[in-house]
Amino acid sequence: MSDYPLPISQVIDPTTSASERDTFLEKLHGWVVTVDHKRLGILYILYSTFFLLVGGAEAMMIRLQLAYPHNHVLSAQVFNRFFTMHGTTMVFLVGMPFLFGFANYIVPLQIGARDMAFPRVNAFSFWLTAFGGFLLYYSFLGGAGLYGVGNAPDVGWFAYAPLTLRAFSPGHATDYWALALIVSGFGTLGTAINIIATIVSMRCKGMTLMRMPLFTWLLLIVSMLTLVTITPLTAAQFMLLIDRYLGGHFFDTQAGGSSLIWIHFFWIFGHPEVYVLVMPAFAIANEIIPVFCRKAIFGYPAMVAASICIMFVSLSVWAHHMFTVGMTSVSNAFFTLSTMLVGVPTGIKIFNWIATLWGGRIRFTTPMLFCIGFLFQFLIAGLTGIMLSVSPWDWQLHNSYFVIAHFHYVLVGAVVFCIFAGIYYWYPKATGRLMNETLGKWHFWLFTIGFHITFDTMHFLGLLGMPRSIYTYQPDRGWNFLNLVVSVGGLIQGIAVLIFAYNFIVSYRRGEIAGDDPWDAWTLEWTTSSPPPVYNFEEEPEVHSRRPLWDLKHPDDPDWEYES
């Protein structure tokens, strides 16, 4: 295949020469005004890593308070602020920016484009998201107007009205919460539109939709889902602010408003949001698992179909968060069925991943270990999800620690594990250096052990009747020992994350030089140099199958002869 036009390692650099050293201020300025999708991707990742540490610190404080009954590390008010900020931070300032960071960095490279479709919208969206996050955290200072003690939202990340109305939440903390999410929400919408436009219109020659890498496919689906889900949240936030300041009565039960309206709006956003967070995790696993078991993904068309199916079904399950609000038995039965049906396409994905592993030669590198952890934990999370979909059982489990355990299995066991996998996997592409494998394995094992000590135990606390969102508990309930275990597990996870942070920083200067293609992978981002030049590719690549680098490495046995 000598006529195959994939320019490996032929990087010319017509812009600034590396010998010109910029001053620190010039460099900083360069990062602030950048519209380069790779730099914005890195900014997103750094931003969400920072908030991962902040949200994690809040979780540590929460667990310190709950380690013993009637503990006094935090007051009730401070505890309520911390669990509200922990939830809001992890969903909006960690999960979503991580996903957009990966999308920004990887998608244009994988489809052979030179940038996103709208580079300046891209930069604008990032800074909106960033300012939203900082606005939220400014509430620690500004929530009480700078004249009193610190303040922050304390209404839960779900912020059920009417608790959020001025009658029950005076001060400005709740306003910070609503405004911060509106601002970052607009950033999210901008990026989602940008990703869709990029994937639809910027693919290189030969890359039909059914030849796109699954990572790109899933981010296309996630971005479409984001457009549908963020909108009701933004609308609900505006309604809340109208209630608070313009005399509206949407949620004001004293004046005929309805709390249920908020709950519906919130979960019409909130449930698809779970898939917005978890599908990028699938996307990362879809890239990493085939590469490290040296096989093509099993059932590519089925994987695409299952993802689209999940997108649609996820829009019809929101009320399974509402089995206890007093819906009719028929509604409860409907949402039980729709929720159980999500299990079918999700099951197809798990089976396809196992089939991909089957017959491969599995290399247990750090990114692969995190993906294997993801597979086991996501299987369990799916099964506890089936348990929660059984609405009578949900009447017991709802708002108990069982639910906390279940969604942390999804958001940590699946999403965070895959985010770590993705960072270990693409770090060499972005920096030119590999992260340290030994530290990576320490990180993996400590984090996995801590994860299971914490979240496996939480299921049992829920079964024993411990509700969520409580700042302390009575010593006679039989929850003391299990809570201590949960807290110890949390501490182990905290240590593991610190090892990761150290590895992340140190490898930037001292890591092993990676080369263009350290993992012997198959998608287009590995054809260009590490880190890639500003323009990504010297000339537009042309692809003939889903794995252009496989074709190049195996010219006698190329993929396009087999793909259907």
């Binding site: 008010q77 059920y160 709390s259 038995s329 409580i470 039989g478």
Partner: protein, 345 residues
């Protein structure tokens, strides 16, 4: 033969599921509000359903997790591997169809079983003899009203035990005076939310007399954690005696007249009712029979004279953020009003 083996398999897997679920009971205590020790029909039905669900999902976990573990072990990279890449397999439509259809069948079975229990619990007909109680959630306490008996109480719900000869069901109507709350006694039934402008219902028919614990299960503000809930299941005779006592107006004890005056001249009576007196406030708990309750401040502390005095002096001691203000009474007033409240048996 086949069916007997299948039956044995089902029995064993349910037994395993039961063991898995019940293992945390080893560390549970008599006072643990455990969902695994059901004591009333709805809780029993949910528990039986949960064992069925755990048996099925546990089976899925063993099969899928086992396949995953086998794949990881059997296909790990070895030094003895031949050069080059393993055989590339791109997929198989037959296999995809198989693992689509089987989960669909499992969903059908799970859904039909679940639907039966949803309707059995939620649409159970209400017996004519059922006791009605209205539950009103407040920040951060529970108001209980027995409309048929004209009784109003707080935080400690008394209901009669059911038996074969005298079946007694209690039907609760639930609503809220302010924000959302949720009524949850795990041993008696699943939880139901209390929402203002919206009336929900639930029912229970416990058979074993005793005390059942629970607490508010929907975050409702700063002292959500101290919105505890106690349900006393009484024998029918105990329940009748309790109702008769609650129906009495407050005792008039001339020796604590000074305390009553403090109560009525300070702001206490704006929020609290003591029936038979001038105090008719409805913002706080009804205190007519305060001394018949074992706890103060929705379970935040035991109902002893010292705790009661401290609670009046400074509610923040037990429940920082409770809506009852410290009335800045002097020591004499405190002693007098505590003595008065101590007579409200």
């Amino acid at each position: 033969m086949q069916t007997r083996r299948a039956q044995r398999l089902i029995r064993r897997s349910s037994a395993a599921a039961w063991l898995l679920l019940a293992s945390p009971m080893l560390i549970a205590q008599g006072t643990t509000p455990s969902t695994l020790a059901p004591a009333s029909t709805p809780a029993h039905q949910i528990f039986d359903l949960s064992i069925f669900v755990v048996a099925i999902t546990g089976g899925i976990f063993l099969i899928v997790g086992g396949l995953l573990a086998i794949a990881l072990y059997r296909f790990r990279a070895r030094k003895s591997d031949p050069m080059g890449e393993p055989a590339q397999i791109y997929g198989s439509t037959q296999i995809e169809l198989a693992w689509t259809v089987i989960p669909v069948l499992i969903v059908v079975v799970l859904f039909l079983t679940t639907a039966r229990i949803i309707f059995a619990i939620q649409d159970a007909p209400k017996p004519k003899t059922a006791l009605d109680v209205t539950v009103i959630g407040h920040q951060f306490w529970w108001e209980f009203r027995y409309p048929k008996y004209g009784v109003v109480s707080a935080n400690e719900l008394h209901i009669p035990a059911s038996s074969n000869t005298a079946p007694e069901a209690t039907f609760l109507k639930l609503t809220s005076a302010d924000v959302n709350h949720s009524f949850w006694i795990p041993q008696l039934a699943g939880k139901t939310d209390l929402i203002a402008n919206h009336v929900n219902t639930m029912w229970m028919d416990p058979r074993t007399p005793g005390l059942y614990l629970g607490q508010c299960a929907q975050f409702c503000g700063s002292q959500h954690a101290m919105m505890l809930l106690r349900v006393y299941v009484d024998t029918p005779e105990q329940f009748d005696a309790w109702i008769r006592n609650q129906q009495q107006p407050a005792r008039q004890d001339p020796t604590v007249e000074a305390g009553r005056k403090v109560f009525e001249r300070q702001a206490c009576m704006n929020c609290h009712t003591v029936s038979g007196t001038a105090a008719t406030g409805r913002f706080g708990p009804d205190l007519t029979h305060l001394m018949s309750r074992a706890t103060l401040a929705a379970g935040a502390t035991d109902n002893t004279p010292e705790n009661l005095r401290q609670w009046i002096k400074s509610p923040d001691t037990f429940k920082h953020g409770a809506l009852m203000p410290a009335m800045q009474l002097n020591d004499e007033q405190l002693n007098q009003v505590t003595a008065y409240l101590e007579t409200l048996k």
